[in-house]
Amino acid sequence: MFNVYAMLASFLGTGVEFVEALTIILAVGVIRGWKSALLGALTAVVVLGVLIGIIGAPLVAIIQVFWVQLLVGLFMLLFGIRWLRKAILRYSGLKSLHDEAESYQEEVERQRQAGEVASGIDRFAFLTTFSGTFLEGLEAIFIVITFGLTAHAIKFTIIGAVIAVVVVMLVGFLLRSPLSKVPENTMKFIVGIMLTSFGAFWVGEGLNVSWLQADVSILYIAATLLLLSWLTVIRCKSKIRLMNTQISKSVEG
């Protein structure tokens, strides 16, 4: 029997997870390059595919999702807040806006010296999209399996998830071009806020805290960070302006 309810529930549930993964892939792709970002996401899909192919439905019971949330969340949180801090410093005038290429090269050099770089692959981009896609994909698989088994409609929950993948991929393809027109520092600022919010949420889930309004908390964490950044930039700019005025007055005097 055709089970529209199971299919729709799976479409909506997994759709939310896929949109979250897509947001990370798009953001990282625009800033750090599509090759590494897409490779990271694709690797996660392959790993998940292999896991589900070998283990099947018992995967839900075997993988402890909170450990994945904790590790991925911590990585995203530290990485995201690092970008956000840099973006605030640049907007505030505490760090130059024009040293993007230089600082990126410095970072690559640091990784190279640490023996961590393979040629052509941006490991940060790869790891970020890999971990984000892996976690979201895992959650989507859990939705499909648990809901499908409970409703005795696994075929329809899988169809719902497949439709969600196709729709989200289409949206991603359409958004790719307009997003690449956003100025680099603005994009880094947005990605910093996004990764920090996602990271904080996942670490919290891993630590068993209770977020008010569950997944919606990602939005209010992001809104708080946006407000804090805006106020900080205004305050820093005004202090620097005041300092410069005092310096020029003392020079004239």
Binding site: L78, L84, R85, L94, A114, L207, W211
Partner: protein, 66 residues
């Protein structure tokens, strides 16, 4: 330990920010374990704000003193 140190260096620019954040996460884990999961989420939220504020404030102080 060396691997952890390298990873820490690559992910973290400012030790001040990271330390405050890690303390907030540890406190959140503790209070959540003690039966106050909502307080735990508020601690993480505050940790983000305080760590960023302290880190930027430090950079501003350095700039104004230089």
């Amino acid at each position: 330990m060396k691997v952890l140190g390298t990873l820490w260096g690559l992910l973290v620019d400012d030790g001040r920010l990271a330390s405050i954040l890690v303390i907030a996460l540890l406190l959140a884990a503790l209070v959540s374990h003690l039966g106050h999961p909502t307080v735990g989420s508020i601690l993480i939220w505050l940790g983000l704000i305080v760590s960023l504020f302290v880190s930027i404030e430090h950079q501003l102080t350095l700039k104004t003193k230089s």
